[in-house]
């Protein structure tokens, strides 16, 4: 009975309550992760914020990722800036890099992609993301180097190949872009994003029928992806099919109500007296 002195009772109580609280926290994180995979980012953020134990690294890194998912880059950056120093993982630096890049802070983004690569030199995704960052800052030479490094490490990764294909379109190497992108859709038929950019490459080569085939295929794979309708609207406009062009623009407005792209093309159609 000596064991049951007041000090030990308090200690046991503390241990039991810690265990209880741990499972509660763990349950909240599990729930937030589930919500995230359902695309319910705001609900997941609320779930974590309402957790009594917000502040541990696991829940904070999830919160940062949710801010990144939902496009709240300034809050994401604040969290990543603190957390990546603590956990020093390549995933953290990569996510921070993406958040910074999305916020047009390209230099700091590149620094973070480099940190991700220094932690894991075989992390091809960081090279590919860094290449995009270089392209956005119009440094095409370094973009090419980073894309090729990503491909060297991970030659079969469809995302890395798509990103290189998109880059080639940006630098107007349309045939080479098609050479990179076509095998991606041959190997994986659900790649609507690759279909979009194959269509774009054909468009720039003035191969309008082929472009239309790929925009249509992309739409049949993912009818919710507004960029496909937008590019098809441009194509219809180019072909003089104003009715279909306007119909596609209406789809873009429906799927992405805040799209600024639509306004400009509508203006153009109006200028040509077709609206």
């Amino acid at each position: 009975m000596k064991f049951l002195n007041i000090k030990n009772i308090i200690l046991i109580f503390f241990l039991i309550s810690s265990l209880f609280n741990f499972s509660l926290t763990s349950g909240d994180i599990d729930e937030a992760i589930k919500l995230r995979y359902q695309g319910k980012f705001e609900d997941a953020i609320k779930k974590i914020k309402s957790s009594k134990f917000l502040g541990d690294t696991e829940s904070e890194i999830l919160l940062a990722k949710l801010y990144l998912d939902s496009g709240n880059y300034s809050d994401a950056n604040q969290l990543y800036d603190r957390l990546c120093k603590i956990i020093n993982s390549y995933e953290c630096f990569n996510e921070y890099g993406i958040s910074l890049m999305s916020n047009f802070n390209f230099n700091l983004a590149i620094e973070n992609f480099e940190k991700a690569i220094s932690v894991n030199p075989q992390f091809a995704t960081a090279y590919s993301n860094m290449a995009m960052c270089y392209t956005m800052s119009k440094d095409y030479k370094d973009a090419e180097i980073a894309h090729l490094k990503a491909l060297e490490i991970s030659p079969n990764n469809p995302i890395i190949r798509i990103n290189y294909g998109v880059y080639l379109i940006k630098i107007k190497k349309y045939q080479r872009a098609k050479d990179i992108l076509y095998p991606v859709i041959a190997e994986n038929e659900s790649m609507y994003f690759a279909e979009l950019f194959i269509g774009v490459a054909h468009y720039f080569k003035e191969e309008y029928n082929s472009a239309l085939i790929h925009f249509n295929r992309g739409i049949s794979i993912n009818p919710e992806f507004s960029d496909l309708y937008y590019h098809r609207a441009l194509l219809y406009y180019k072909k003089g099919d104003y009715q279909n062009s306007i119909r596609d623009l209406q789809m873009v407005e429906k799927l992405s109500p805040n799209s600024t792209k639509v306004i400009e093309l509508r203006k153009l159609i109006r200028l040509s007296g077709r609206l």
Partner: protein, 359 residues
């Protein structure tokens, strides 16, 4: 006006799109990817069984599928007709090197054709189609495998210019879909019946052989392509096998269609087997071991009692029993000669001439 349009196209290509998916941000510059380490919430699809490269029994592993080999010039349009009548048409620029540059110069095409039951038996390919909802066995209409090499380097297909295939039209009344085996070894449906062309010819004979037309489709990958009709409901046969009174060894057991084409196989051990078969059809069951012995059942007519192999027998899952199959070793002159072996195994081979569309 074109200039304005080009400016809009280029300008808005430089604005980030707001679309985002889990762990990806789809932008006008590509996909910003931030993968997780493995999460328990990422429900990985159960790994599907690999359909090609299946182990064969000793006797059948002595044989390889008929192959047509032809040298081609990659900058030209090439037409290759396989020894079993498959015609493939290859456009210039169809192939790439591993760095995605268009392959040039001479290359060697290898075309394998699977037409007869025996071809299926030696192909090492199973025909289960798993569309994640249902698992189906395929009734078969032929299969081909295409590969291209430059020296020892296997070229890749760019995908921009598919290969046109005219495949011999067996069972013209049957609504075969067209499938290919992907890099994971899984059958993937490429074309439903009706979405590819049929070139039929009136029933006739030439040189004592029937004249047939073709099914026309496009291939955009190398490897196995096959015609099939998936069947979900199957019957199951069970039985025993033995060799000189012994049964403590493993065998390859497979069922072959008699009045249709079907091949279902698996390895078993311990002297007993169960094997799926198509309902209400005539089939034969073969067992072949790793020492060159083989045995087979007489022609059996399957019932309509649907059952599932792999789950225990019960009142709702009844297996039909067949008599014990005795294995024997065919004489060497039979084992080593395809014509004699086909005769020994009572397997038929198709004889036909193919007529192709002129355009």
């Amino acid at each position: 006006m074109n200039l304005i349009l080009l400016i809009i196209f280029l300008f808005f290509n430089n604005i980030l799109s707001s679309q985002s998916k889990i762990n990806n941000k789809l932008t006008d510059f590509g996909i910003m990817n931030y993968p997780d380490r493995k999460s328990k919430f990422l429900q990985a699809e159960p790994k599907k069984e690999k359909m090609d490269g299946q182990k064969l029994s000793k006797l059948l592993s002595n044989y390889v599928i008929t192959k047509t080999t032809q040298q081609i010039e990659l900058s030209k349009r090439n037409v290759i007709i396989g020894s079993r009548g498959t015609r493939i048409t290859i456009a210039p620029g169809t192939f790439q090197y591993s760095d995605y540059l268009t392959a040039k110069g001479a290359a060697t095409v290898h075309l394998y054709e699977v037409i007869d039951d025996f071809d299926y038996m030696i192909s090492g390919v199973y025909h289960i189609y798993n569309d994640s909802k249902n698992l189906s066995y395929m009734e078969l209409g032929g299969m081909l495998r295409f590969e291209i090499f430059q020296g020892n380097t296997r070229l890749k297909m760019s995908g921009e210019y598919p290969i046109l295939v005219d495949f011999p039209l067996f069972y013209p009344e049957k609504k075969f879909n067209i499938y290919y085996i992907n890099l994971e070894g899984v059958w993937i449906k490429k074309y439903d019946f009706g979405s590819y062309d049929l070139f039929s010819v009136p029933e006739s004979e030439e040189e004592g052989k029937k004249v047939i037309g073709v099914r026309q489709f496009k291939m955009n990958s190398q490897g196995w392509w096959g015609l099939g009709i998936p069947h979900k409901d199957m019957v199951v046969f069970k039985g025993k096998y033995q060799l000189e009174g012994k049964s403590n060894f493993s065998t390859h057991v497979f069922s072959i269609g008699e009045n249709f084409r079907g091949y279902i196989g698996k390895w078993v051990s311990g002297g007993e087997f169960s094997i799926s078969a198509f309902p209400a059809r005539k089939i034969r069951i073969f067992v072949a071991d790793e020492n060159g012995n083989i045995g087979f059942s007489p022609i059996i007519e399957s019932s309509n009692k649907i059952a599932i192999d792999g789950i225990p027998e019960s009142i709702d899952n009844i297996f039909e029993e067949i008599q014990t199959i005795n294995l024997t070793k065919p004489p060497d002159e039979v084992s080593n000669d395809k014509i004699q072996l086909l005769k020994f195994l009572q397997i038929r081979a198709e004889e036909y001439l193919v007529t192709y569309p002129t355009k």
